[in-house]
């Protein structure tokens, strides 16, 4: 019997809730492609999101490898600067909007109903619609690469006027694609909020929810707050390009800096959208494998809320060199430095959770621990970047590239992989091949550090980002980064292999696949039947 551990109390679920899962007369689902096109089941849609995201992760990864191949040596060997710019741009756009965000939405679809004891998402048809918008959006976006004049070539931040008056003809398609992806995100967020607020098992209060659910609740509010800002700014671009307005065109009385304010008012909360659910996943995995309750559950929730609030007050730290007035520079420097406090609280809490636990090192735990260390390194470089005077030297160099790749690759993406290894037994009924997963882990850790750590030095030594060719003194760093990138890319094939093998078979997993796991999802059988919690489970809170 699991010890009584708040905040994830032992559960006495009614067995009937589970057993009844497929007993009710559900109409047989349509077969073949129609089943997937028309599905309203949260588990199937979650699977669709995850497969989509994995596909896009590889497409975006190939773009990154094209970039790294060109940067392997000084000089232009493989591609022209024009195509190089399209590759950096598409890599960023695909990874942010089509790989990381849908992966988290997929995990939310699968796990939030299971973790709160709900039978499905609150709005199943909307759920189906949100997903199927994504393949449309990104097919459109990728098709721009084959259009005359090529795809977007102005960086994923698409600063005006480079993206408006000077953009390629395909920019309008890029705007449309981003609009569709944005609608998908907003609808997904509405669905998640509706589910969490209305469909929790009787007796489960907000403060009893697992942290993954909490972080997603906050993330969903962030999405609803900032996606319309993105939609607004790209609509203004659309007007500038096609209807002769001058929002961002200085020659017509417009303001190119306004673009950056609007973009980063969206863009900064966006980076928290990509990291908060990762915090949630790690906060589930570390207690499980330390066999000890999460330290400071309440402060974790409050720190999440504090980070979300602060994320609206720091956007101009991306703009320290555009010539802001001194007062604005100081304001954004102070507010940015303050974000270190709640973020630090989270890291301290995870480490204190480990302290005096009973720790084992299964693959989900390895990825979660690597997350804590490497995300913190990304946080340190973030703190350095917050110092405005120093940022005059760091800004737009490879130091920044190193920083945000540390928070996004061993940050967000490692957390996603940790989550996948953690929940695969629940999804497929089999444990993933542990030996393969460990190889994947070690190769990934080595690859990530080999790729991104030298970038710190290249940036400090003076290498600007987004250049297709570089001065000779940066050659060694780039050589290492390129080798690391190909190594990391190749080792992700092990991940795909591991997932495929796990779907096809493997060691059978019980309902409670991990000894220390306590959340509600572990009370349903593995693999989780298509319909779960049709009768709500009775949620028992541990008395504290």
């Amino acid at each position: 019997m699991a010890p009584k551990l708040p905040p994830q109390p032992p559960l006495q679920h009614s067995t009937t809730a589970v057993a009844d899962g497929q007993a009710h007369g559900h109409a047989a689902p349509p077969k073949g492609i129609w089943r997937w096109l028309l599905t309203t089941n949260h588990k199937e849609i979650g699977t669709l999101y995850l497969i989509f995201s994995l596909t896009m992760f590889f497409i975006g990864g190939i773009f990154a490898l094209v970039v790294r191949a060109e940067l392997f040596q000084p000089g232009l060997q493989l591609i022209e600067p024009e195509f190089f710019n399209q590759m950096t741009t598409m890599h960023g756009l695909i990874m942010v909007f089509a790989a990381v965000m849908p992966a988290f939405t997929g995990l939310a679809n699968w796990m939030i109903p299971l973790q709160i004891g709900a039978p499905d998402m609150a709005l199943p048809r909307l759920n189906n619609f949100s997903f199927w918008l994504l393949p449309v959006a990104f097919t459109l976006l990728l098709s721009t690469l084959f259009m005359p004049g090529g795809g977007p070539n102005f960086g994923w931040t698409f600063y005006a006027p480079l993206s408006t008056n000077y953009g390629p003809p395909s920019t309008t398609f890029f705007i449309l694609a981003l609009h569709i992806a944005g609608i998908s995100s907003i609808l997904g967020a509405i669905n998640i909020i509706a589910t969490i607020l209305n469909m929790r098992a009787p007796g489960m209060r907000l403060m009893d929810m697992p942290l993954f659910v909490w972080t997603w609740l906050v993330t969903a509010f962030l999405l609803i707050a900032v996606m319309p800002v993105l939609a607004g700014v790209i609509t203004m671009m659309l007007m500038d390009i096609n209807f002769g307005t001058s929002f961002f065109n200085a020659a017509g009385g417009g303001d190119p800096v306004l673009f950056q304010h609007l973009f980063w008012f969206f863009g900064h909360p966006e980076v928290y959208i990509m990291i908060l659910p990762a915090f949630g996943i790690v906060s589930a995995i570390i207690p499980t494998f330390a066999r000890k309750p999460l330290f400071g559950y309440a402060s974790m929730v409050y720190a999440t809320a504090a980070i979300a609030l602060l994320s609206f007050l720091v956007w101009a730290h991306h703009m320290f060199v555009v010539g802001l007035p001194l007062v604005a520079e100081l304001f954004f420097m102070y507010s940015t430095m303050l974000i270190a406090v709640p973020t630090g609280v989270k890291v301290f809490n995870w480490i204190t959770t480990l302290f005096r636990g009973s720790i084992s090192f299964e693959s989900p735990m390895l990825f979660a621990l690597a997350f804590v260390v490497l995300f913190t390194i990304g946080g340190f470089s973030g703190l350095m970047l917050a110092i405005a005077p120093a940022d005059f030297q760091y800004h737009d160099t490879y130091f920044v590239v190193a920083h945000f790749h540390y928070v996004l690759v061993p940050g967000a993406i490692f957390a996603i992989m940790a989550g996948v290894y953690y929940w695969l037994p629940k999804w497929t009924g089999h444990y993933p091949n542990e030996r393969l997963a460990q190889w994947h882990f070690w190769f990934s850790v080595i690859g990530v550090n080999l790729t991104f750590f030298p970038m710190h030095f290249a940036g400090l030594a003076g290498m600007p980002r987004r250049i297709p060719d570089y001065a000779l003194q940066f050659a060694d760093f780039n050589l290492l980064s390129s080798i690391g990138a190909f190594f990391f890319g190749a080792s992700q094939l092990l991940f795909v292999l591991g997932v495929i093998l796990c779907v096809r078979g493997g060691k059978k997993a019980p309902a409670k696949a991990w000894e220390g796991a306590v959340d509600l999802e572990w009370s349903v059988p593995s693999p989780a039947p298509l319909h779960t919690f049709e009768t709500p489970p009775v949620f028992h809170r541990a008395s504290t």
């Binding site: 000089g75 100081l330 001065a471």
Partner: protein, 371 residues
């Protein structure tokens, strides 16, 4: 007031970071007071992060090692302690305040561009810099001088590959110089690490920054903001001179400018123009229209055998002077002088099988500019 963190950076130096400095691993200390201050801030925050990292990761790896399940560790069940939580909130807060104080002082200093003795207007253009010494009647553009053959690997790459220009910005040392930044097209960013100046040049805006260089020398940097296909080929080179040498240089420039203007009025021969035009074409036009004039349609049309170009001289000159609105072709009326424009037009009209035989005189171009 700044002394304590300068002191800290001295310790950093003693701890072997000077080695990294020499190897080009770290931020340069640079040759201005500001760059030294920034280096001090950088090293201070770096060592703070190292210390925190050692403590935090030390605690983490100790726990991982000490409390292994495989060694039979029994989990305890504590899950909160307000005192500890307050402590690890307040201590970072204090460290941050301690960091914010010197950072604020440096930033205020960087923003104070009053009492400058020389004003230089820096204008970003795709993909070159234009420098104008305000009130001195001296202005010129600065293009990358690395040959395309080095980039493609046909020639051995030189020591300053991609970081060399035809005309560097020349500045005097020991004088406070105000840099006014703007742009003619998209956003660029003028950056020289040794001077610790990085400032966006933005169309429609004039940004201010300043620099006071302590040591003569040649300092190299690059455009730091993505500005189109040749963003990577837009270096900044600053040649800092003793004040007397700078004054001589300035006088020399003024005389040369006067001489150049004379060239506009005389009659030029075809061969002379074509030769001059070829070098202009190579450094300015060939990045889009290609060395062989084939361009890369549709964004960058071919010039070789271009019917409209061959048939209409005035249209041709007009496009070079004023650019093509809504397309990538920029206006060169302020970048190039009439001689250069006449030369490049003449060259283009007689190269790659465009055998029009036309000779466009600088005086014709000058007339068209004044219209």
């Amino acid at each position: 007031m700044h002394s304590w963190w300068r002191w800290l950076s001295v310790i950093s130096l003693a701890m072997g970071i000077s080695q990294a400095q020499a190897n080009g691993w770290n931020m340069p200390i640079g040759v201005t007071d500001t760059s030294g201050d920034i280096y001090g801030l950088h090293m201070t925050i770096f060592w703070i992060c190292v210390v925190i990292g050692v403590l935090v990761f030390g605690a983490m790896f100790y726990s991982l090692f000490r409390y292994r399940y495989s060694k039979g560790a029994k989990a305890s069940h504590f899950h909160e302690h307000t005192g500890v939580e307050v402590l690890w909130t307040v201590i970072p807060l204090l460290i941050l305040v301690g960091m914010a104080v010197p950072a604020t002082a440096t930033l205020k200093d960087m923003y104070d561009s009053s009492d400058a003795e020389l004003d230089v207007m820096v204008t970003g253009q795709q993909w070159r810099w234009r420098y104008e010494y305000l009130g001195e009647d001296v202005a010129f553009t600065s293009n990358m001088s690395t040959p395309r053959a080095q980039i493609s690997g046909e020639e051995t790459r030189g020591e300053h590959y991609l970081l060399e220009v035809d005309e560097p910005l020349v500045l005097p040392i020991n004088r406070k110089i105000r840099l006014l930044m703007t742009s003619d097209d998209v956003i660029h960013s003028w950056w020289v690490p040794d001077l610790a100046v990085k400032q966006d040049s933005i169309p429609g805006f004039i940004n201010e920054n300043w620099v006071k260089i302590n040591e003569p020398g040649i300092y190299r940097g690059q455009c730091a903001e993505l500005c189109g296909i040749d963003h990577g080929f837009m270096p900044v080179v600053v040649h800092a001179m003793e004040e007397a040498a700078f004054e001589d240089w300035l006088i020399g420039r003024k005389e040369a400018a006067a001489e150049k203007a004379m060239g506009v009025d005389r009659e030029w021969a075809m061969a002379e123009l074509a030769e001059r035009g070829e070098s202009v074409y190579q450094s300015i036009c060939s990045s889009c229209h290609q060395v062989d004039g084939q361009g890369s349609p549709p964004a960058f049309p071919a010039l070789a055998n271009n019917e409209q170009l061959i048939s209409d001289v005035d249209w041709h000159i007009d496009k070079v002077l004023n650019g093509v609105s809504g397309a990538a072709m920029p206006a060169f009326r302020s970048t190039l002088n009439p001689v250069e424009i006449a030369a490049v037009v003449t060259y283009t009209r007689n190269a790659w099988g465009n055998d029009t035989g036309d000779v466009v005189q600088p005086s014709t171009v000058a007339e068209q500019i004044s219209e």
